[in-house]
């Protein structure tokens, strides 16, 4: 392919496609094929650029390394980009979200990030092995084959890489234990069962750079002495599975997978297993059961999978992001990786930034960066302009960190000290409209539904904890409930066998620790400060603002709104289901949500009445 003047890249990962990027790509393809001769440009599909907040994204780069990123591009913008930028040489300013030097804020967004695991995401074409090879792909494997298994493990040890699935177990040690375990047959498994709601790091990596994960698995298998690998991927990620299958076929055709790889005598085959929708399968022993074709129930450890794993053979299970780092470490050496991070947490971590943040998406930061830097310098602060309240890491296993602890560095130890965890990389940003009791209830509802039922404390404890939270959010909690939560929470932690039960109380315990006032307001004043808990809020129509159009009454599913046309309408609070549909429908901003603290006396009357 001759070097063209322009390269057009369209981000076609799931979130881009959901925002309409495929139509944008097709529009480019269509236009370029019509007048190919007139435009000197290549059109390339790529993966996730990380800036999900302004998808669909189109990047125009020039042969002289200029770079322009267009955001929120619609198919009808394509003609303008071609005419004005590609033909006329003038960037389309109103669509431009980034070019170096344009906006200091965006320079900071990129400048603060260090992309190692995401190096190729949004850069290469995930459906072409040639694109990966051109970016230095499979050189890490060649290096590994040269230096031998022991030296590979030493390199990993020197890099300081720890499991990116959340627990942070040293990767080299896992490999070394599996290597030393006696057994003819050994396995490598990639845990791509990304079940934490709010986390999409693994999906993006698999969709945007599947070969890095395959290469990481190859290096692991070579170090361990494994001949077969499985990728256990959520069935909810069809595009990731499709691109992985394609990548495996390409790697086989090029001699990177199969027998006697690159003439080294080392052989390795890969199979994809689709998860069938069970959060507990993210736990390694449950995952093994699932790959074996059984119900995904965890079992006691020891023996650890490194001794007795899949089909009873020594098995090393690592997460997608962990594997994606491995080829880069081999390729460039351990020191290039360990220069980033803190003393005990080396390298970088990918986060899926979501929630009330302005620039939601996928970011990769050096370990040790503070939460405030992530939320404000990279995330751009709170989208709604309201006050930053908390972040939540680690999903249903993690904790809520209040804004007051925003200067906490993100590393395994610092987060652990404040009761939170690194987790797999979900980072939810919350503003003052978020009710922390509701958040705790949300995670507990999720965890209760996903408990496999094997341990009594997890199965019944989650149910009971949830009952307490439901009571509190209904305004019927008591002061004793708070002590009960702490007591029961600790019991569930110690009485459960696997990570799911052991960490399930974390969201409740951390919100109670850092937002005790909010729990107290629900209990003692039947008041939800964030105006979220249905039993404690009411909807009102401001007669001054209401024009009497009747639209709200029309959309109300429970017929709680009544009135006469052209006169102010009213809401019957006793009938109102508090769904909020009327607020969205009202064109005059006349409907508001209210919750106010009630005095103990009035509560007593209400309860007696």
């Amino acid at each position: 392919m001759a070097n063209r003047k322009y390269t057009i890249k369209v981000g076609l990962a799931s979130c881009g496609i959901a925002a309409g990027a495929q139509q944008v790509y097709d529009a480019f393809a269509n236009k370029l094929s019509q007048d190919e001769a007139a435009v000197d440009a290549d059109l390339i599909l790529t993966g996730c650029l990380g800036m999900c907040y302004c998808e669909p994204l189109v990047e125009i780069s020039t042969s002289t390394h200029e770079r322009y990123l267009y955001g929120n591009v619609a198919p009808h913008d394509v003609e303008r980009i071609i005419a004005q930028h590609l033909r006329g040489g003038e960037p389309v300013q109103d669509l431009l979200v980034y070019t170096p030097g344009l906006d200091p804020d965006m320079d900071r967004y990129f400048g603060k990030q260090v992309r190692i695991a995401l190096q190729n995401c949004g850069v290469i074409n995930p459906e072409a092995i040639a694109s990966y090879l051109a970016a230095g792909g499979y050189q890490g494997l060649q290096k590994a084959l040269q230096i031998g298994p022991e030296a590979v493990i030493e390199e990993l040890k020197a890099s300081g890489l720890r499991g990116r699935g959340g627990a942070g177990f040293p990767t080299w040690l896992k490999w070394s234990l599996t290597r030393q375990a006696p057994g003819e047959v050994k396995y490598v498994i990639c845990n791509a069962d990304e079940g934490d709601p709010g986390a999409f790091m693994d999906r993006s990596i698999l969709e945007s750079d599947p070969h890095s994960v395959i290469e990481g698995m190859l290096i692991a298998a070579f170090a361990i002495g494994a001949c077969k690998g499985y990728i256990y991927c959520r069935a909810e990620y069809p595009l990731a599975i499709k691109r992985l299958r394609l990548a495996i076929r390409q790697a086989e055709a090029c001699g990177y997978l199969g027998g006697d790889i690159l003439g080294s005598g080392f052989s390795f085959t890969l199979e994809i297993r689709e998860g069938a929708g069970a959060f507990v399968c993210g736990e390694e022993t449950a995952l093994i059961m699932s790959v074996e074709g059984k119900r995904g129930m965890p079992r006691f450890r020891p023996p650890y999978p490194s001794e007795k794993g899949l089909f009873g053979a020594p098995t090393s299970i690592n997460n997608v992001e962990t594997f994606a780092n491995v080829p880069r470490i081999l390729e460039r050496g351990a020191a290039a990786y360990s220069q980033y991070g803190t003393e005990k947490s080396k390298g970088t971590k990918v986060f899926a930034l979501a929630g009330k943040v302005k620039r939601g998406g996928l970011v990769e930061i050096p370990m040790g960066m503070t939460i405030n830097e992530i939320v404000f310098d990279i995330g751009g602060g709170i989208a709604t302009g309201k006050a930053f309240k908390a972040v939540q890491t680690g999903g249903p296993s993690g904790g809520c960190i209040p804004a007051s602890l925003g200067d906490t560095p993100v590393d395994y130890e610092s987060l652990g000290r404040i009761g939170a965890i690194m987790g797999s990389g979900g980072l939810l940003v919350m503003d003052e409209d978020t009710c922390m009791v509701d958040v705790a209830k949300y995670f507990l509802t999720f965890a209760r539904g996903e408990s496999c039922g094997k341990c009594t404390f997890c199965r019944i404890g989650s149910e009971k904890l949830l009952e307490i939270l439901e009571r509190i959010t209904a305004g019927k909690g008591t002061a004793e409930d708070l002590a009960l939560i702490k007591n029961l929470g600790e019991a569930v932690k110690t009485g459960s066998m696997c990570g799911l039960g052991q960490t399930m109380p974390n969201p409740v315990l951390t919100t109670l620790k850092y937002f005790a006032d909010e729990y107290a307001a629900h209990i003692h004043e039947a008041y939800c400060p964030a105006k979220q808990c249905k039993a404690l809020i009411s909807y009102h129509i401001d007669p001054e603002l209401c024009r009497g159009c009747g639209l709200c009454a029309k959309v109300c599913a429970v017929k709680a709104i009544s009135g006469e046309l052209r006169k102010p309408y009213t809401i019957d609070s006793a009938v109102c289901a508090r769904c909020g549909l009327c607020v969205q429908t009202c064109r005059f901003g006349a409907i508001s949500v209210e919750s106010s603290p009630k005095s103990a006396a009035s509560l007593g009357v209400a309860q007696n009445g």
């Binding site: 799931s14 979130c15 496609i17 959901a18 925002a19 999900c52 907040y53 998808e55 990304e194 079940g195 934490d196 709601p197 709010g198 986390a199 999409f200 999906r203 993006s204 069935a235 909810e236 990620y237 199979e271 297993r273 689709e274 069938a276 929708g277 069970a278 959060f279 699932s290 790959v291 074996e292 074709g293 059984k294 119900r295 995904g296 089909f311 899926a352 979501a354 929630g355 009330k356 939601g360 998406g361 939540q392 999903g395 979900g426 939810l428 919350m430 978020t434 958040v439 949300y442 995670f443 999720f446 496999c452 959309v555 599913a557 289901a577 769904c579 909020g580 549909l581 969205q584 429908t585």
Partner: protein, 163 residues
């Protein structure tokens, strides 16, 4: 129990044969049956048990353990509503309620007219577009209760969303 048709039997036999040399392939077999036949009916399970010599009780154990499997056929429009954390914060509950009330069925079931199957799912990984739903595999971002009602109305009128 409903009798299995000869076409269904052929599909199941082919799938089981395809996985004959794979170890631990029970879940992929059941997944492929659901992909091709739409659901995993009791009569399909009995047939798989017979062909693979895996006890039907074990197969039922698997099908009921994993949320992906359906024992009943699906409605004309499969609506999956994300209830991940980002969607929850962005007001997914109101969206879910709007779909339930306008489609006339609850999450996890199919409307009487067979038009809609509603399902609440954990996370579709499109958090920046929250709240998110998907209709027959096509994703709709930045949903509101109002948009949800409208979408259901269109689908009732025989719209061709996501088909």
């Amino acid at each position: 129990m409903v009798q299995i048709t000869s076409e269904q039997l052929l599909v199941i036999e082919q799938i089981v044969n395809k996985y004959r040399d794979f170890s631990g392939a029970t879940i992929p077999i059941l997944q492929e049956i659901q992909n091709q036949l739409g659901y995993v009916a009791p009569q399909f399970i009995e047939k798989v048990a017979e062909l693979t010599e895996i006890p039907a009780s074990e197969l039922y154990g698997i099908v009921t353990f994993y949320s992906q499997f359906r024992l009943e056929p699906i409605g004309e429009n499969h609506i999956q509503m994300c209830h991940g954390t980002a969607c929850h914060l962005a007001g997914a509950n109101a969206v879910i309620e709007a779909f339930e009330s306008s489609a006339g069925t609850k999450c996890g079931s199919t409307s009487k007219d067979g038009k809609f199957t509603l399902e609440k799912v954990a996370c579709m990984g499109c958090c920046s577009l929250a709240p998110v739903i998907s209709v027959n595999g096509k994703i709709y971002g930045r949903m509101t209760a109002e948009k949800g009602q409208k979408l259901v109305r269109e689908l009732k009128g025989g719209g061709d969303h996501g088909k």
